[in-house]
């Protein structure tokens, strides 16, 4: 019986062990519920603390850190950034309580001791404080989503900064001297920060992110200390969508002077005889390009100048070059998938409401070998003028651009039916009166101030093609029913039937152009009940 007791005791132990393990699991499941106020929030100031990755695999889930919450909390205790950030040659370092990641355990201890200490302290002062136990910082599932928006310097912002620094470019712009290993300023070589500061920090070259946070915030902070107005120092100030919208925008910004041309030919750069040399000369007619106009359309140089502020052709040569990553001038200008290329950017513009109505339902591809090329490629440079001086060229370019008609042409009202009765297939509803002329006018009217559109719709009847597609320009286009008939014709699998053709044409256009009425599902909005 002695044995029996032992056995039972064993059973008892077993039960307890089992139950504990179960319970612990149960706890593991629920964890500790995230404090209600930041549960399932979207925040711009969300920072994931995973620096230890540099020392190998993380042992615990990375910590989500809300920066603005902390700055706010510190302000309450009227403490400032220096509470957490040490400064190095009178500039605050980005890291917490240290200047560089020295050693795994060291960094880990810094975080653990410092964070927890402060949290404890704050809690001691009866104030709302952060967690002090591992699981509350190192959480498996993260309830917060980041709403961080990328921030950049647009024309207006640049103008305001320039003004504030009374056009002392050197305040921000700099070059790096390999020999002296020092930053210096060189007039006329200013460019966007991103040209040098990339995604990640390389030695002697911090990442864009770091650079911005070091310089911008530091400058803002110091300016604020002088009680002058300055840009934001908190995360959301720059990265929260709402706050970005509140940033003051200067409407009329004077051109940034960086010795850029006004109007030029997009063409091979090179010595005059190079250009006239038949071997190396461009076969295609040259494209006059209004740089000044495009400066207006876009709000930063980066939109086109993705690598530097030199002419496209200096890297993207006719036959491709190393510094142009072998992307030839032709591709650089025509690639539909690159937003820096002419066509790429122009296509993005087609997504504007007033364009999308027609263009959304048009397959997006380059119409090669068509006269549309000549809309841009206007003249062969050296056939009329043997070899001309740059000045003459510029003049010629300007002249050609002027000569270009930039107006959407459509037939005169007489040729445009006032209304079209659609009575192809009626069963439960009466025929539909389509206000045809009104529609034409609206379409044309929508784009009359859009220069890009006007250049490409200048042929009479082009705009009609939005609906009267797949047939030559004419005042007498074929009827819809002459192509669209019964649905699901196996010989024309991609061609909708008549009803669907009507409906999708109207509805897709209305949808794309954001026309609220009539609602697609409101039949009687177009069809009179019988």
């Amino acid at each position: 019986m002695e044995k029996g007791k032992s056995g039972l005791r064993g059973a008892g132990i077993f039960v307890t062990v089992a139950m504990i393990s179960i319970l612990s699991m149960g706890l593991g499941v629920r964890g500790v519920p995230p404090s209600s106020d930041d549960a399932d929030k979207v925040r711009a100031d969300m920072i994931t603390i995973d620096y230890l990755k540099t020392f190998g695999k993380l042992e615990r889930p990375a910590v989500v850190f809300l920066h603005d919450k902390h700055t706010a909390a510190l302000e309450k205790q009227n403490k400032d950034c220096t509470t957490c950030h040490l400064s190095e040659n009178n500039r605050l370092g980005p890291k917490f309580k240290r200047l560089k990641d020295t050693h795994k355990t060291e960094v880990m201890d810094i975080f653990h001791t410092q964070c927890i200490a402060c949290h404890r302290e704050t809690a001691a002062n009866e104030e709302k404080s952060g967690p002090v136990s591992c699981g509350d910082c190192h959480k498996e599932e993260i309830t917060i989503r980041s709403s961080r928006q990328p921030m950049g310097m647009d024309k207006s912002l640049h103008y305001r900064h320039a003004k504030a620094h009374d056009n002392k470019c050197e305040k921000c712009h700099h070059e790096y001297n390999e020999q002296t290993q020092k930053l210096y300023y060189q007039q006329g070589k200013e460019g966007t920060c991103r040209y040098c500061h990339g995604k990640t920090t390389e030695e002697k070259k911090v990442s864009m992110r770091l650079a911005a946070h070091l310089s911008c915030i530091d400058c803002h902070r110091k300016t604020l200390e002088k009680n002058q107005s300055a840009g934001p120092v908190d995360c959301s100030g720059c990265h929260e969508l709402q706050e970005q919208k509140m940033i003051e925008v200067v409407q009329k910004v004077p051109r940034i002077k960086r010795n850029q041309p006004d109007i030029v030919f997009v063409k091979k750069i090179g010595s005059v005889d190079e250009i006239s040399n038949p071997k190396t000369q461009a076969r295609m007619k040259a494209v006059p390009f209004s740089h000044v106009a495009h400066e207006d359309y876009n709000d930063s140089c980066r939109v086109c100048h993705h690598a530097d502020l030199n002419a496209c052709a200096s890297c993207h040569t006719l036959t491709g070059s190393k510094e142009g990553e072998q992307i030839k001038l032709e591709q650089a200008m025509h690639n539909l998938n690159a937003e820096q290329s002419c066509l790429g950017c122009h296509q993005i513009n087609q997504q504007e409401k007033q364009c999308a109505g027609c263009h959304a339902s048009l397959e997006q591809r380059r119409k090669r070998g068509e006269e549309t090329c000549l809309t841009c490629h206007m003249t062969a440079l050296n056939e009329n003028t043997g070899n001309t001086s740059r000045a003459d060229e510029k003049a010629l370019a300007a002249k050609l651009l002027d000569s270009r008609v930039a107006v959407t042409a459509s037939y005169k009202d007489a040729d445009v039916p006032e209304k079209v009765v659609i009575d192809g297939l009626m069963n439960q509803y009466k025929a539909v009166d389509l206000p045809h002329r009104k529609i034409v006018h609206t379409l044309a009217g929508n784009i009359k101030d859009n220069k890009l559109a006007n250049y490409f719709h200048s042929d009479v009847g082009t705009i009609c093609q939005g609906c009267h597609h797949n047939s030559p320009l004419s005042t007498q286009p074929p009827k819809c029913a002459s192509c669209h008939g019964r649905p699901f014709d196996p010989d024309q699998p991609l061609r909708p039937g008549l009803m669907a053709a009507y409906h999708s044409q109207c509805m897709e256009c209305h949808k794309e152009m954001g026309i609220k009425k009539p609602v697609a599902t409101d039949c009687s909005g177009c069809h009179k009940e019988k």
Partner: protein, 359 residues
């Protein structure tokens, strides 16, 4: 690919079994089925759907289903998510938060008419069948109402007439089997105003879908739902957003339903074949054990008896021997006595005679 088929042999045709079995089996080893050639299907393109519920109405009409609580032109119904029910073979649901730029998206739900239907695989009276034309049909005249089909269906399509006490049926879209076999369009397809539903041979639908994606890459996610899901379905889907965002499960995998149970089924004959052998074996062993045991016992008994007898005899013999020993002695003594007796009178006589002579 496909293989030569023998009609299911009647209960008595056991004779023909061997041949047909071997054949099917050999063919089956490298088996891959691609469904009925030229079977039809429907392609649903949610960039074209406007959520007018005309398909629901059309379906209800051609299938003569019970009238709905709200009329079909009442679009407020779309405010809540719905599923198929015994009164509606198909429903359209609205998804608002999926691409806020272009407005809500819609999704039509109905039987997907799998190429390898789970319901058919699960049904123990073969009430469900994949017809040559592509529709998965249901035969209510044999249905027992076990509702295993509803368990099996990964798309949660079949529904049941729970409130019918006497003759409840499983209710599900039939792809308008009667209509399409007459060359008509399915009710929903016919009543769709925008051709959000395209009716064609499944092979062609795949081509159409691919072409649409190619032409408008930014309009669609590059996936044709139903091309491979659960081994492929006759209904195919194109969407502007990932399918999980419009409530379609992307975790179903591509394994055809029948394959899921194939393993278990193949276990059956093995058990039937081997268990009797195994069990009888065990039985035999245990029986033999008993037998041996009993035999040993007997042996022991007999030997014991023999020994006892032997002992007894020995004793007896001894006793006898002793007995005639004594007899002998007794006789000798008697003989002695007798001899002595005989000797004495002779002398007396002699003495007497001597005395008689002298007188």
């Amino acid at each position: 690919m496909s293989i030569s088929r023998r009609k299911f042999l009647g209960w008595l045709a056991a004779a023909g079994l061997s041949t047909s079995v071997t054949r099917t089996a050999r063919a089956a080893t490298t088996q891959h089925f691609t469904g009925y050639p030229d079977s039809v299907g429907v392609l649903f393109d949610n960039t074209r759907c406007i959520g007018c519920r005309k398909c629901e109405a059309g379906c209800n009409k051609v299938n003569e289903l019970a009238a709905p609580d709200q009329p079909f032109d009442d679009l407020a119904v779309l405010d809540n998510q719905r599923r198929t029910s015994a009164r509606s073979y198909t429903v359209v649901n609205r998804y608002d938060q999926v691409n806020y730029l272009k407005g809500p998206l819609y999704r039509k739900i109905q039987c997907n008419h799998c190429l390898e239907p789970a319901c058919a695989s699960a049904c123990f009276v073969r009430a469900f069948a994949k017809s040559k034309i592509g529709a998965v049909t249901y035969d209510e005249t044999v249905c027992v109402g076990c509702r295993y089909c509803m368990i099996a269906c990964p798309f949660e399509i079949p529904t049941y007439e729970y409130d019918n006490a006497i003759t409840p049926r499983v209710m599900k879209c039939t792809l308008c089997y009667p209509r399409i076999s007459k060359g008509l369009l399915p009710g929903c397809v016919e009543s769709c105003p925008t051709e959000a539903l395209t009716y064609a041979k499944r092979e062609d639908l795949l081509q159409i879908a691919r072409e649409r994606i190619r032409r408008f890459p930014q309009r669609y996610v590059d996936h044709i739902y139903g091309e491979h899901e659960m081994g492929g379905t006759s209904w195919l889907y194109l969407s502007a957003v990932p399918f999980r965002q419009i409530g379609m499960r992307e975790d179903l995998g591509v394994t055809p339903a029948p394959e899921l149970t194939a393993g278990a089924l193949s276990g059956v004959p093995i058990v039937v074949g081997m268990w009797p052998v195994l069990l009888t074996g065990i039985y035999a062993i245990s029986k033999r054990k008993e037998k041996l045991a009993s035999e040993e016992k007997e042996l022991a008994v007999t030997t014991a008896v023999e020994q006892a007898e032997a002992a007894a005899e020995a004793k007896l013999a001894e006793a006898l021997a002793q007995a005639d020993e004594e007899k002998k002695k007794a006789i000798d003594i008697e003989v002695q006595k007798a001899l002595e007796e005989a000797a004495r009178p002779e002398t007396e006589e002699a003495e007497k005679s001597e005395t008689e002579e002298d007188s």
